[in-house]
């Protein structure tokens, strides 16, 4: 799922997975850096279902018209081929800055009524500083034992802390600096804690508290989901141990995007040589929805606000259906990052692709029900959206977060029928006839059957974390069983079999409403189907259903499209071309990128693509091109996984035709050549990357590794030291410097570097093993044994580690 998705990204810098590109010395060649899996964590914050899939492209300012890499990967004659029109730069003006946000207290002075409603709302109480009022977790000084550590949530003076005492290793104390969530959610509310780290980041601590069960719990990466802390649980089973996920978004770190707080900005400060993390508040403030208030406040103070047509704010009540949803989906949605630096008020399409996660490990079942997270965004599959005008604010009052009906009348609870009957008047007078449940009984409530609270599958069963189904389906017990979702009926009727429930449903309602064609087609296609039949089912964009289109096109493209296909049926080309016409830029870009990858050697298709680029509206140029190049890695991931890098290279070279000098694409190319053992090409691309982003330390590390592979030792050390100069807080840099010293047999320096790497990133298991070797070479056997044990906590099945531990233990045995 999305979890794996993230891992896949780790293969290629500058995404989070930089560890994998670390090149090791011969001495430790067999030991790959351990992949520490990360589960989608945001749910742990208890408020939002939000996945983080980062994929940053280079800064737009770097998009110059250099054509060094714009050669096509195709080998056909170019006689009649039109060149792709050059990208003339990003015209989307964005002058919004952190200081343009004034904070809710400023808003309060004029908008007291709205402020008061908001202050008490779940947004107003979404997060904050640690204080007795805000904290719901039990910081009682009682130790919570893990299998190999004890965690003690405690209060010392005004401070809230976690005292962490692992076996064998020194104890640590994490001070709570930030709190996210307050256990608001009906289906299971949690609270999450953050601590400020020496590198300037604010990191997510893996000890969460859940309101209803009243226990401390953690997220595990062993397929068990969320489980309470017990003596059976090794600390390293926690996906977020050691703390590495940061608050806010940064291109080179695991992160929570900008959503668990307001206007969170994380920037690396080259002066201070550490990260600068700032935010207005950990609550979700007024400007999160309304955009920056500076201009508005200035106008108000100047007294000219009544005559100004532009008051620096939008009237959110007048937004169209999709515009309105976008305000909420800034946070309440899965999305792929296109470009860093998003702040509310900027054009989100320029920064995020809302439907691109579908191209990864599709987070949705064919009917839109969630596999893992993102339960709000699947509203896009509901009939109320597809055939109606429903937005979030039709039921959710945006200020109070209370419930209301379509006319704006406040409703008592999320279970009030008024949410539905405001539109579905047909059900008011014949309620019992429709529900077959007594009026007033739980089964009579609309939401009991149509928006049941479903346990998030990825959370497991130990702790209740259920969210109401925003696809607003009708109960289909058999179908739900097939896709592995609990059906609404069995929420109450646990004693009844699915067959019984299905029979009852049919007895009451007769023939069930058929799924929408697009959903039915998605269910019908399977891997064995031939390309043409699958095309008929999946490339049918006749009804307006954008998420459905994205899911269908993604499914088709991933299964049936490969680089430089000899031929493609005209029906299929036409089917994909229909999606090129989509107003949805994610769909359009996917259609363009797939034709580009598969059929660029066909001059007619190439020229068609050139024409499409030519025809793009100026404001869409950057958006489509960014998506286009971002989609390429998705399309060739399976080849990279199989080691067929030559095929991946075709995709990345195509990407450079669309967006020349794109940092990510160039880094991908460096990585592919590196993997193929083509050091000179790898060096060429990594050098290019350092030219484009001279302050990206990882590019220097990658360059150093490539140079090391080419036996350019001097070049390598220069590059590593440059990386360290830029950012002394990168564990990988220290790790590679350790390798450098190790190779020179300079054990004290190697030991110092490896130790530093572990200090910065305790999960970097390979550093433990290399440190162990260094200690052995330095004859510090006791230290060697301690450190290899610590390394094996993170990578318990590492053969080299296990071997070294065994050798050391045997040696000690012999000595004794």
């Amino acid at each position: 799922m999305a979890k794996k998705n993230k891992k896949n990204k780790k293969q290629v810098p500058p995404s989070k997975g930089k560890k994998k590109v670390v090149k090791t010395t011969e001495a430790i060649k067999q030991e790959k850096p351990q992949q520490k899996k990360r589960s989608p964590k945001v749910i742990a914050f208890g408020v939002l279902g939000l996945l983080v899939i980062l994929f940053f492209l280079s800064q737009t300012a770097w998009f110059k018209n250099l054509n060094l890499f714009s050669g096509s990967g195709s080998n056909t004659s170019a006689a009649v081929r039109q060149a792709f029109p050059q990208f003339s730069g990003n015209i989307n003006k964005e002058e919004i800055e952190f200081n343009d946000f004034v904070g809710s207290e400023t808003c309060q002075s004029c908008h007291a009524k709205e402020y008061d409603l908001w202050k008490k709302s779940t947004h107003g109480q979404a997060g904050g500083s640690p204080s007795p009022d805000f904290i719901i977790g039990e910081f009682d000084g009682r130790g919570r034992p893990f299998a190999d550590a004890i965690v003690t949530p405690q209060r010392v003076g005004n401070q809230f802390q976690f005292r962490f005492e692992p076996e064998d290793l020194p104890a640590q104390t994490f001070k709570v600096d930030a709190v996210v969530g307050k256990g608001h959610m009906i289906g299971g509310g949690t609270q999450t804690y953050f601590s400020r780290f020496p590198d300037g980041t604010v990191r997510f601590l893996p000890f969460d508290y859940i309101r209803d069960e009243k226990v401390w719990f953690g997220e595990t990466d062993k397929g068990k989901g969320w489980i309470p802390i017990t003596e059976d649980l090794p600390i390293n089973d926690l996906s977020e141990w050691p703390p590495s996920r940061i608050l806010g978004a940064h291109l080179s770190l695991d992160n929570c995007q900008e959503c668990h707080g307001s206007q969170i900005q994380v920037k690396f400060d080259p002066e201070q040589k550490k990260f600068d993390t700032k935010y207005k508040t950990l609550a979700i403030n007024c400007e999160s929805c309304h955009g920056p208030g500076k201009k508005h406040v200035e106008l108000a103070l100047s007294g000219n606000i009544d005559t100004a047509q532009d008051i620096g704010m939008l009237a959110l009540a007048t937004l169209s259906k999709d515009e309105s949803l976008e305000v909420c989906f800034r946070c309440h949605a899965l999305k792929d990052a296109l470009d860093p630096g998003y702040l509310q008020g900027k054009d989100i399409e320029n920064h995020y692709g809302m439907k691109l996660p579908i191209l990864g490990e599709n987070p949705y079942h064919p009917d839109g029900r969630i596999r893992a997270f993102g339960y709000q965004q699947n509203h896009l599959f509901s009939d109320c959206y597809v055939n109606g005008s429903m937005t979030c604010v039709d039921c959710h009052d945006p200020h109070s977060q209370g419930y209301r009906d379509i006319t704006g009348k406040a409703l008592a609870s999320p279970f009030d029928d008024g949410q539905c009957t405001g539109c579905h008047g047909s059900k008011i007078n014949e309620l019992e006839l429709h529900t077959h449940h007594k009026i007033g009984s739980p089964g009579s409530q609309c939401v009991s059957c149509h928006m049941p609270y479903l346990q998030h599958q990825a959370m497991g069963d130990e702790l209740r974390f259920a969210r109401s189904d925003h696809t607003i389906p009708i109960p289909r017990p058999s179908f739900d069983e097939e896709i592995g979702i609990q059906n609404a009926c069995s929420q109450c009727h646990q004693d009844k079999s699915v067959e019984w429930l299905q029979a009852k449903t049919v007895e009451w309602y007769g023939e069930l409403k058929p799924h929408k064609e697009i959903v039915a087609n998605l269910s019908k296609t399977d891997a064995d189907m031939d390309r043409k039949s699958a095309g008929t089912l999946l490339l049918n964009g006749s009804t307006v259903h954008y998420v459905g289109h994205m899911a269908s096109l993604s499914k088709f493209v991933k299964n049936y499209i490969s680089p430089d296909m000899a031929s493609l049926e005209p029906e299929i080309v036409d089917g994909i071309k229909k999606f090129v016409e989509s107003p949805d830029l994610d769909i359009k870009s996917l259609a363009l990128a797939s034709l580009h990858l598969a059929q660029d050697n066909n001059p007619a298709i190439h020229n068609y693509l050139a024409q499409q680029l030519e025809n793009l509206k100026p404001e869409d140029q950057a958006k489509v091109r960014k998506r286009w190049v971002m989609i390429m890695p998705y399309l060739v991931k399976k080849y990279e996984d199989k080691g067929e890098f030559q095929k991946a290279i075709i995709a990345y070279k195509r990407a450079l035709e669309v967006l020349p000098n794109n940092f990510t694409t160039i880094t991908h190319l460096g990585y592919c050549y590196q993997q193929m053992g083509n050091s000179s090409e790898a060096i060429r691309y990594y050098k290019k990357a350092t030219q484009i982003a001279p302050n990206d330390d990882m590019s220097w590390v990658n360059l150093g590794n490539a140079q090391q592979n080419a036996n350019d030792v001097k070049g390598a050390i220069t590059a590593y030291l440059k990386a360290e100069e830029i950012n002394p807080w990168n564990a990988i840099t220290h790790f590679n410097l350790g390798n450098y010293h190790y190779r020179l047999e300079d054990m004290p320096n190697a030991i110092q570097r490896y130790t530093k790497a572990i200090e910065i990133d305790p999960s970097l298991s390979q550093a433990y093993f290399n440190l162990c070797r260094s200690y052995i070479k330095n004859k510090q056997f006791r230290e060697a044994l301690t450190i290899v044990k610590a390394g094996l906590r993170f990578d318990p099945i590492n053969e080299t580690g296990l071997q070294m531990r065994q050798d050391l233990e045997e040696a000690f045995e012999r000595v004794r």
């Binding site: 704006g408 579905h424 047909s426 309602y509």
Partner: protein, 583 residues
């Protein structure tokens, strides 16, 4: 004058007074303070008021406001005062009608303050109505046996003793009640232009037996009397037909040039507009509710609600606007009172005194207490309100905003001058409490939004020009009984969706999206009954369709909406999808 004619004159005068007062009931004691108004500019050919004699209420009875409006006293006199149109084709010169209908002038001086108002008919509309009226040749039955009267041709061509005719008029005491080029007493009509106005045959027949046409009218039998069973006309002296011929021929010898010019203009226009038919005229006759005053081809008391309840007028409109409107009525509802009757508020050519009487009566002084606290909107709030009205709320399905939108109800552009803020607020919030039978749906919304909308609607802004929908291009809708399924559809749906559900209602062309074609079975069979119900209940916006389709869930009850759904199924002759029916 001999004693006979003096007696006759007395009788006529007393009859006249009786008619004037007969139906007005007891004198109201109410004393209206009439503002002093200069009458120096009065050029209208209307009766002058005599101070203290008439109240606003009585004047409205005289004008028969109740013919179209509710909330005012009944006027039983008007059908006695308005001429029968059953035989308008026999009576009136078409060319005269054509021009007179476009700009009626006073003809008859014995009908108190009653008068024929100006319906603001275009030339085309007037032609249609003229053609229709000219077809009406149903003389009262049973008809008496007439003596042989002179041919029309003889009269028009003056084949008679014109000098004798002229002197006979004096002899027959015509000038006791009529005037002719300044001579005589103007108690009934001026005969100066009767050659333009009337047909020669009819003039002779009328002189011979006035009571045959108009019952116990004022015009005495001067030439013939009826026998006992009113089947024969018996001459009162020898050869009265000669006198009739000479008088008629004399009258027809006057204004010959005007008459022939008038006829030439009419014929030319008629020739240019051959597609205009009497049938169109019939629609106009119905639309303007002519039968409310006139006996004629359409029975009285159609019981069509055609105009606003005047009992509410004081709450509704601003005093100044009302005065201006009474002085010169301008279009308020482009296609008449709902649901598209084509009716118009005619111009009664009221004098300033009359306007004051009526407007004081309808619109007592503004009360100091205004419940709605209006507030000047910022530029931003205005554009917000405008966007809500255009894109979210259904209002512009019926009302024009900045020259765009539906033409069922009054244009919003008129509100600032016309309506009181309280009324605007109340008609939106408490629609049916205020006007129980209105077709305007109640659209509930948050108070804050309601106040924004009201403040926007009442704020002054440039107004776009407005005119009535032509009754030539568009057939008015005549809906009688609203209680059955079809009646409900006609009242609430047909204006946009069409009388037969073809999406071609008269208001359809004013909408940005074409209304659903309910007769389209291919489409309608895809919609479930529940969706149809919900669409009616919650409106088009909810269904991702046009926001101009209002939610009727707060206007119609469950049974009514169900009736409409079953009527939609009658129109499409189809059912919803099979899965949509429960077991």
């Amino acid at each position: 004058m001999n004693w006979k004619s003096t007696l006759l004159l007395l009788a006529i005068i007393s009859a006249f007074l009786l008619v004037m007062l007969g139906f007005q009931g007891k004198k109201e004691q109410e004393q209206q303070d009439r503002p002093e108004q200069s009458s120096s500019n009065i050029s209208k050919d209307v009766p002058s008021l005599i101070r203290g004699e008439i109240t606003g209420q009585k004047l409205m009875v005289e004008l028969a406001c109740n013919a179209c409006h509710s909330g005012v006293s009944d006027s039983l006199i008007i059908s006695n005062r308005a001429p029968s149109l059953n035989y308008a084709g026999e009576r009136y010169n078409q060319a005269y009608l054509f021009e007179w209908l476009q700009s009626p002038k006073r003809v008859r001086y014995h009908i108190g303050h009653s008068r024929m108002p100006d319906f603001q008919l275009s030339e085309e509309e007037s032609l249609a109505l003229t053609l229709y009226l000219s077809q009406q040749k149903n003389l009262p039955q049973p008809a008496p046996k007439y003596p042989k009267l002179s041919s029309e041709n003889n009269i028009i061509r003056g084949r008679a003793n014109l000098d004798r005719g002229k002197s006979l008029m004096d002899k027959h005491t015509c000038f006791t009640c009529h005037t002719l080029n300044g001579t005589g007493n103007l108690l009934i009509t001026d005969l100066s232009n009767s050659s333009q106005r009337l047909k020669a045959d009819w003039m002779q027949k009328y002189m011979a037996a006035p009571s045959y046409f108009t019952g116990n009218n004022l015009m005495p039998h001067l030439f013939y009397r009826f026998n006992a069973d009113r089947t024969l006309l018996l001459p009162l002296f020898q050869n009265p037909e000669e006198d009739i011929k000479d008088i008629a021929a004399y009258l027809f010898s006057l204004n010959k040039k005007e008459k022939s010019d008038q006829e030439a203009r009419y014929e030319a226009f008629k020739k240019k507009n051959k597609d205009i038919s009497a049938e169109m005229g019939e629609k106009i006759y119905l639309a303007q509710n002519c039968s409310a005053c006139h006996n004629g081809p359409v029975p009285n008391n159609l019981n069509i609600e055609k105009a606003p309840d005047l009992a509410l007028e004081g709450q509704r409109v601003q005093k100044e606007w009302l005065s201006q409107y009474l002085n010169k009525p301008t279009m308020v509802r482009p296609f008449g009172f709902h649901p598209g009757s084509g009716s118009r508020m005619p111009d009664f050519r009221l004098t300033p005194e009359e306007i004051a009487l009526i407007s004081n009566y309808l619109n007592p002084e503004e009360s100091a207490e205004n419940k709605f606290a209006s507030k000047k909107l910022s530029a931003f709030s205005s554009s917000k309100a405008e966007k809500l009205l255009n894109e979210k709320l259904p209002c512009t399905g019926c009302h024009q905003l900045n020259g765009e939108g539906g033409k069922i109800g009054p244009s919003f552009d008129q509100i600032p001058n016309r309506l009181k803020a309280d009324y605007v607020y109340n008609i939106i919030k408490n629609t049916h409490t205020l006007i129980p039978k209105t077709m305007m749906p109640r659209i509930p919304m948050p108070e804050q939004q309601l106040e924004l909308i009201v403040n926007y609607l009442i704020q002054d802004k440039p107004r776009s020009p407005q005119s009535y929908t032509s009754l030539i291009n568009q057939e008015p809708y005549f809906f009688g009984n609203f209680s059955d399924n079809k009646g409900l559809y006609l009242k609430y749906c047909a204006s946009c969706h069409g009388l037969e559900g073809n999406g071609d209602g008269y208001n359809a062309i004013n909408l940005p999206l074409p209304p659903t074609v309910h007769a389209n079975s291919e489409y309608m069979t895809l919609r479930t009954d529940a969706t149809l119900y919900d669409g009616i209940y919650a409106g088009g916006y909810m269904l991702n369709k046009s926001n101009r389709m209002p939610a009727y869930g707060y206007t119609l009850d469950n049974e009514q909406i169900k009736s409409l759904v079953s009527y939609l199924r009658e129109l499409c002759e189809c059912e919803g999808p099979s899965w949509s029916f429960d077991n």
